[in-house]
């Protein structure tokens, strides 16, 4: 027994493996990790892009603490997350289960049409939906009118605007998450379903006790990635409302953009970004912890 001596073959395998991963790692390091570290660094300075950076210690963080505008923006972000994540999760799961029962040709047509919104850029999706949401000439109000309802303001109403943005987000991302669920569901062996049906289980029982537990990994993945994405929504809002009306859609990411570029306060913007990053980190950690604990209990 030779201890500590990795065979030549094994070593070469590792080398090849790392060589394949290296390009991606470098990309990650340069475009993700280093900018994050740099943002940490700048958050301790005052910087307006032009002049020298001025070291101000924790001043930016103290300012953030007292900044009512920021906390309002974070509240709106949380509201968006609270409405968007559960809806996306349930809807994509629901459609995935539904489609998993459809046979071949119809199935692939449906899958393609669900996935199409994901393929167009968010700017085009926003423009498309602005047409639909248009108060006097839009398609949605035309339908509502024919059903006897009054014209809705949609993006022009500070009560409805955020929900309207969420609807567009759902429309874009439903297909992608549905496909993820679908592949997870397809991985479950048919024999499980057959056995359960023989034992007298109905569709709901099958879903709750067989399907849902077995797609846990995918569920967690979708939950965490959707939450992270919902904290970062910016492009849709920039195109559709620019944070309006009267700040109804000004979420954290937009607030950071505004401070950093319009007010040219990059140091403060970086501090806010760092906070957003850390809170997302905590959020995701808690989410993963909560969902893995359940597994141990079974």
């Amino acid at each position: 027994m030779k201890k500590g001596n990795i065979s030549k073959r094994k070593r070469r395998e590792y080398l090849v493996a790392y060589a394949f991963i290296l390009p991606d790692l470098i990309g990650l390091a340069v475009f993700v990790v280093i900018p994050i570290i740099y943002a940490f660094y700048i958050s301790f300075f005052e910087w307006d892009f032009i002049n020298e950076k001025v070291f101000v210690g924790a001043a930016n963080y103290i300012r953030m603490w007292k900044d009512a505008g920021w906390w309002n923006a974070m509240l709106r972000t949380l509201k968006l997350t609270a409405l968007y994540v559960p809806s996306l999760f349930c809807l994509s799961l629901f459609f995935a289960v539904l489609i998993s029962t459809v046979k071949s040709k119809m199935g692939s047509f449906i899958k393609t049409s669900f996935l199409m919104p994901f393929a167009i850029t968010s700017v085009i999706a926003s423009t498309l939906w602005m047409f639909l949401y248009n108060e006097k000439r839009g398609y949605l109000n035309a339908v509502l009118k024919s059903l006897g309802f009054a014209n809705q303001k949609f993006l022009g109403s500070n009560k409805q605007a955020l929900v309207c943005v969420i609807v567009v987000l759902l429309w874009i991302n439903l297909g992608y998450n549905m496909i993820l669920f679908l592949s997870a569901i397809k991985d479950i062996p048919e024999s499980y379903h057959e056995a359960a049906t023989i034992d007298g289980a109905n569709r709901w029982h099958i879903f709750r006790y067989i399907t849902f537990p077995l797609i846990r990994q995918t569920s967690i993945f979708i939950l965490v990635t959707t939450t992270i994405a919902s904290f970062q929504v910016l492009d849709l809002i920039m195109v559709m409302t620019k944070g309006g009306p009267a700040k109804a859609t000004e979420v954290g990411a937009l607030y950071i953009y505004d401070r950093s570029f319009n007010m040219m306060e990059m140091g403060y913007g970086s501090a806010l970004s760092v906070f957003l990053f850390l809170s997302l980190l905590v959020f995701s950690f808690v989410q993963m912890r909560a969902t893995s604990e359940k597994e141990e209990r079974i």
């Binding site: 307006d48 892009f49 032009i50 002049n51 602005m130 047409f131 949401y133 248009n134 108060e135 006097k136 000439r137 014209n151 303001k153 949609f154 993006l155 022009g156 109403s157 500070n158 559709m240 409302t241 620019k242 944070g243 309006g244 009306p245 009267a246 700040k247 109804a248 570029f261 319009n262 007010m263 040219m264 990059m266």
Partner: protein, 424 residues
């Protein structure tokens, strides 16, 4: 066979993308090699224009480059929304900012106060200073030093659909009451009475200033104190807010509020917009009868606001003299052909120089332009405030327009924000 066809299609796609990309990269590369021999000074000039304006710029740059061996202007076009928000500050941060750039009231003070713009006072001759309209020169100066070269003045007016108003038996409004009544009468399920800007942007403030001034209000008083909470400001806010609160003006817009398509496509009866849409009104909507009148006023004191781009030079540029030579030869020299061409052919705007107006009377008196020329003397240059002030003012407007906040509360909040920003 299926696999091969699929592979072929992918290859074709990839090649067509790279071919498109390579063409422009090659053009750039060869241009650069031409310019970079023999110590030619390359001056970077970034613009965001399209159409006729872009053609004008391409031509003048080519002409200048042909007649100057030692100085070459490298003109790049970038998109407008990036230009005014993230592009310029990031370029400065990277040390890659252009030598010549455009500034507008929303960015002028911001950039000048941070030392981004070169002092151009020495390049102005006394004749030029006398020729430039006093208000335009004031707007380009901070504490006596001139940091930009005004090239155009774009003013606002009230555009309207002549036929729609005639059918409803309404005369083009000239007072605030008439405007309100007209908007109310003309608003239907399909049509907005009056289109005003909606989003919290510099453009919305641009439209707001004349309304504020006509009510007798202003942000700062003569002595520099903040008078945002005056009762005149409240009057102006109440009036402006009414249009949105009562649904006479839209709460969200598909196309820009400046886009004359709002009136042109029949979505609105009236619209506040500027000299910059006259060409579009005449060319894109020839079948719609569009007229323009001065902005209605409360006390027979109609006035309008004059915005427009200015040219500035990067304070960190190595070739300030050469850059100045280029822009002053276009817009600041005794030969006013180029300056005239810019505001009469490339686009329509008012020039910043009296001599150009005098020399092109026939253009300034034709069609919709005549109306603008009439009320041109009432134009006050768009103010250029620090970012914190415009932020507070924008928020104040949004609160009243859509936030259900009373004008009294909105002005109080704005005053607090402005005063604490001024204290810093």
């Amino acid at each position: 066979m299926k696999k091969i066809t699929a592979l072929l299609m992918v290859l074709v796609l990839v090649f067509s993308f790279s071919a498109c990309g390579n063409k422009t990269a090659q053009e750039d590369a060869s241009e650069k090699t031409e310019k970079n021999d023999n110590d030619t000074k390359v001056i970077k000039f970034w613009s965001f224009h399209a159409g006729g304006e872009a053609e004008f710029l391409e031509n003048v740059v080519k002409e200048y480059n042909a007649s100057h061996e030692d100085v070459q202007i490298e003109h790049t076009v970038v998109n407008q929304s990036d230009y005014t928000t993230t592009l310029i500050p990031t370029a400065y941060a990277n040390g890659e900012a252009p030598d010549i750039l455009y500034v507008e009231p929303a960015t002028f003070t911001k950039y000048a106060e941070k030392g981004m713009l070169a002092d151009l006072s020495s390049y102005y001759t006394e004749e030029l200073k006398a020729d430039i309209l006093p208000s335009a020169l004031d707007a380009a100066a901070i504490e006596g030093k001139i940091y930009a070269l005004p090239i155009e003045m774009e003013t606002l007016g009230l555009f309207y659909n002549i036929d729609m108003l005639k059918e409803a038996g309404i005369n083009p409004p000239s007072t605030w009451d008439e405007l309100y009544e007209a908007a109310k009468k003309l608003t239907t399920d399909d049509v907005y009475g009056l289109v005003l800007p909606v989003e919290e942007t510099a453009y919305t403030l641009f439209n707001w200033w004349p309304f504020m001034w006509m009510a007798g209000a202003d942000v700062f008083a003569e002595d520099g104190s903040c008078m945002v909470d005056s009762k005149e400001m409240i009057t102006a806010l109440d009036y402006w807010g009414k249009f949105y609160q009562e649904g006479l003006s839209p709460s969200s817009l598909q196309i820009g509020p400046w886009d004359i398509g709002n009136v042109g496509t029949g979505t609105a009866a009236m619209q506040v917009s500027g000299t910059y849409v006259i060409n579009a009104a005449e060319n894109d909507y020839p079948d719609v009868n569009i007229g323009v009148v001065p902005l209605p006023s409360p006390n027979n004191n109609s006035m309008t606001v004059a915005g427009g781009q200015k040219l500035a030079i990067n304070a960190e540029s190595e070739y300030k003299d050469e850059a100045a030579d280029f822009i002053f030869s276009l817009y600041g020299s005794d030969d006013i052909t180029k300056a005239s061409e810019w505001t009469t052919e490339a686009k329509f705007a008012y020039p910043a120089r009296q001599s150009v107006i005098d020399n092109n009377k026939d253009i300034f008196e034709s069609g919709l332009r005549a109306a603008f020329t009439d009320f041109y003397p009432t134009a006050i240059p768009e103010p250029s405030y620090p970012a914190e002030v415009t932020d507070a003012m924008g928020k104040m407007l949004q609160n009243v327009m859509f936030g259900g906040v009373s004008s009294e509360d909105a002005v109080k909040e704005a005053k607090q924000a402005i005063e604490s920003a001024m204290d810093k």
